[in-house]
């Protein structure tokens, strides 16, 4: 049980204020999610042929020598930025090679996300302190999804926090409680999907990973989720292009959407959106059950160019 939120900037001006506007949104959801917080921010695209890897470690000395070792074994490391317990590295190497190298050489590090623009930051602790540690307030970027957690049936840990990465530039946050995730987890494990926690939300993310791996579009994968996942959920899914929102057919867990010329924002409670600029004139609505809503950056960039 939790709070979830998402912010999608339609204009360069909104991109410049992404973190500034998103911080209060997430802070407002602390009541329904006091245990931990996390966000996936899409920003600073990697140069062509390169990928960004976000890693986590509780050890402040973890990053020493890491970039050099990666450069030596895998390929050019064009960027390295450590913030609190996380570090974002940009390097010219395929995803599988990076995963294999890390598993073999640095199993102490946790991979939070891999992609061309995505960076996932998450930790235990009150949401305000988590956002502070990762300097979210001053961040800029294209879009962001976030989560404040009240742990239901699994422990309060960093690994158990959301967002859960589902593939390249893909992640998910979840408000609700699934009821058939244990058997699903076993089945997905047999299909080669890896899990690190006993968290139901991680299973939802893993389910999407699996469907996409089989060749489904995101929409087809989400349609499959409506059929195969049992329980209560509102999902916000982050993609390279934008984000998507989906509620289960019973739709008990809340969701509110707001749209202006500058942004699309989503949150578990209207209160979270109340301080956004232009909210008084925004189109406000609640997503219908079992219907996929998605926003794609390309649609707005075309308009900008036109």
């Amino acid at each position: 049980m939790c709070g979830i939120a998402a912010f999608f900037a339609k204009t360069p001006a909104a991109e410049a204020r992404l973190g500034e506007w998103f911080c209060p949104m997430l802070a407002c959801l602390s009541g329904r999610g006091p245990d931990s917080a996390g966000f996936a921010i899409y920003r600073n695209p990697a140069p062509a042929g390169e990928i960004k890897v976000t890693l986590q470690s509780p050890d402040p000395q973890a990053w020493a020598g890491l970039a050099a070792a990666l450069a030596r074994d895998l390929g050019k490391v064009s960027g390295e930025r450590a913030t609190a317990t996380h570090c974002v590295l940009t390097l010219a190497a395929p995803e599988s090679a990076v995963r294999a190298w890390l598993a073999a050489n640095r199993p102490d590090l946790t991979i939070m996300s891999i992609g061309t623009t995505i960076e996932i930051f998450k930790e235990t602790g009150a949401p305000a302190s988590v956002m502070d540690r990762f300097e979210l307030h001053s961040a800029t970027g294209s879009h962001i999804i976030g989560h404040t957690r009240m742990a239901t049936e699994s422990a309060v840990t960093t690994a158990g926090s959301h967002p859960f990465s589902s593939g390249l530039d893909l992640c998910l946050v979840h408000n609700g409680s699934l009821s058939n995730h244990n058997r699903l987890r076993r089945n997905l494990r047999r299909e080669g999907v890896e899990f690190r926690t006993d968290n139901d939300s991680e299973v939802a993310a893993g389910y999407l990973t699996w469907r996409l791996r089989l060749g489904d579009s995101l929409e087809a994968a989400l349609t499959g989720a409506l059929r195969d996942l049992d329980g209560f959920f509102t999902f916000a899914i982050g993609t390279r292009a934008g984000f998507a929102v989906l509620r289960d057919p019973i739709a008990c867990k809340p969701a509110v959407l707001a749209e202006t010329d500058e942004y699309v924002a989503m949150a578990s409670e209207y209160r979270s959106l109340a301080d956004l600029p232009g909210i008084d004139k925004a189109a406000l609505w609640e997503p219908e059950p079992a219907k996929i809503y998605a926003w794609n950056k390309a649609d707005y960039q075309r308009r900008q160019a036109a």
Binding site: G3, P34, D35, M150, A151, E153, N175
Partner: protein, 438 residues
């Protein structure tokens, strides 16, 4: 009891009870509804014993050296916590399931002993409010009779997520007890089969429950302690979440909890026993650093002062009785055996309280049957029983050297079976072994 000849062997899988039930189902096409809680033997407080005083521990003199029993509930957020003289409360049972006389008797008995009663799934009656000095008002999925005036004149509010007999269940209650007065209180047509919701209508999940609790506090100006009641299931997580939602008090009802009438399969096969539920609840509170600050009430099979003392030793702040209170008033008393037999049952076995034909006159709306329970005498009986429970618990506590029953602790206990040792987190007697822990 029929006599089975030697040489005839009953199957343990298809014994006569199972045969009877299958044939009943084939005849009627409906599941069997009954009360009285889980009947099968499960690990319970009987499997624990106390380590009384000896060379290293010294007892207190009974009748001379004080052993206090008072408890305060609702200290976390409420402006007006509740002070009980004894750590035993009367659990929620509706007017509708019980007669007005029975509710009055419970109120009288509880008030005499300085403790509280609880309304049930049907709302608050003036009689109950009048006769109970301390009254806890249940807030249920059905919201039958719910109104702000009663909320404000209650002493505490108990948000019910579930009860031991049917954690996760709503279900259906047959029409015989939807009398005229009950129907009006519940806004239902008279005599119908009542369908009950299993989820609250305007919130689902602890994150939204937190906001609902805020609303209830706002309506009552933050005066009343707010309890959250759950049937024992995933108790460790449930207690964590109840605390995070903002509860002052948590009530955990084990599978032996008997007063909800529901399907037999629900009663016997859903929910965990009271014993592990108490341990899990206390573990969760300890981990959050809130043991004794968020109070824990446990129910489900509390029968004697030994049960009370054991629950407190495991870390509960108080216990609640339902079935035992009705027995004290007279349910299943041998004097009604002939009438029970006319109903196809026998004294000691009767469990069809939902039918409203209770010869003891307690769980009925029938005008003639109700008269059999004199509320004043009934109140006296309940007070007597509560007194005995308290004295028994005090005797045990003194024998363990405690000047307050709350000073009983898990280390005062030993287990007689491996299951109870594992469930209660208490070593097997004569050993240091707690299965799963050491």
């Amino acid at each position: 009891m029929s006599f089975i000849l030697p040489g005839l062997r009953e199957s343990a899988t298809f014994d006569r009870h199972v045969i009877h039930e299958i044939q009943r189902a084939a005849e009627t096409g409906i599941y069997d509804i009954r009360g009285w809680g889980a009947k099968r033997r499960v690990p319970h407080f009987d499997d624990l014993v106390f380590l009384g005083a000896s060379m290293s521990r010294y007892p207190l003199e009974g009748y001379r050296e004080k052993c206090a029993t008072d408890v305060t509930l609702g200290t976390r957020f409420a402006k007006k916590p509740i002070h009980l003289k004894i750590p035993i409360t009367i659990a929620g049972m509706s007017f509708g399931s019980l007669s007005a006389n029975a509710k009055e008797a419970l109120g009288r008995g509880a008030t005499e002993m300085g403790t509280s009663t609880t309304t049930g799934d049907g709302g608050m009656t003036n009689e109950e409010r009048g006769h109970s000095r301390l009254l806890v008002y249940q807030y249920l999925p059905s919201r039958y009779g719910m109104n702000p005036d009663d909320l404000r004149r209650a002493d505490a509010i108990e948000i019910v997520l579930g009860q031991g007999a049917k954690p996760g269940g709503g279900g259906m209650l047959l029409g015989q007890k939807i009398s005229d007065r009950v129907a009006r209180m519940r806004t239902l047509p008279e005599g119908i089969d009542q369908r009950s919701a299993c989820r609250h209508p305007d919130w689902t999940g602890p994150d939204d429950l937190e906001i609902k609790i805020q609303e209830l506090r706002e309506i009552t100006d933050w005066e009343k302690p707010i309890y959250i009641k759950v049937g024992a299931s995933r108790t460790y997580y449930d207690v964590m979440l109840a605390v995070k939602s903002g509860a002052d008090v948590i009530v955990v009802d084990g599978m032996q909890g008997g007063t909800g009438a529901t399907q037999d399969v629900f009663i016997e096969h859903v929910g965990i026993p009271t014993l592990p539920a108490v341990r899990q609840a206390v573990e969760a509170l300890m981990e959050l650093g809130l043991h004794r600050q968020v109070q824990l009430i446990v129910s489900g099979g509390i029968r004697s002062g030994a049960d009370v003392a054991k629950a407190l030793a495991m870390g509960a702040d108080a216990v609640s009785i339902g079935t035992a209170a009705l027995i004290a008033l007279g349910d299943n008393h041998p004097r009604y055996d002939e009438e029970y037999r006319k109903l196809g049952s026998a004294a000691g076995c009767y469990d069809d309280f939902h039918e409203g034909r209770d010869p003891a006159g307690i769980s009925t709306q029938d005008a003639e049957l109700q008269k059999r329970l004199d509320p004043i005498l009934g109140g006296r009986r309940l007070a007597n029983y509560l007194r005995v429970l308290t004295l028994e618990a005090q005797t045990i506590a003194r024998a363990c050297g405690k000047s307050h029953v709350h000073h009983l602790e898990p280390e005062d206990l030993a287990a007689l079976t491996i299951e109870s040792a594992a469930m209660a987190g208490v070593p097997l007697a004569g050993t240091n072994w707690i299965p799963g822990k050491s």
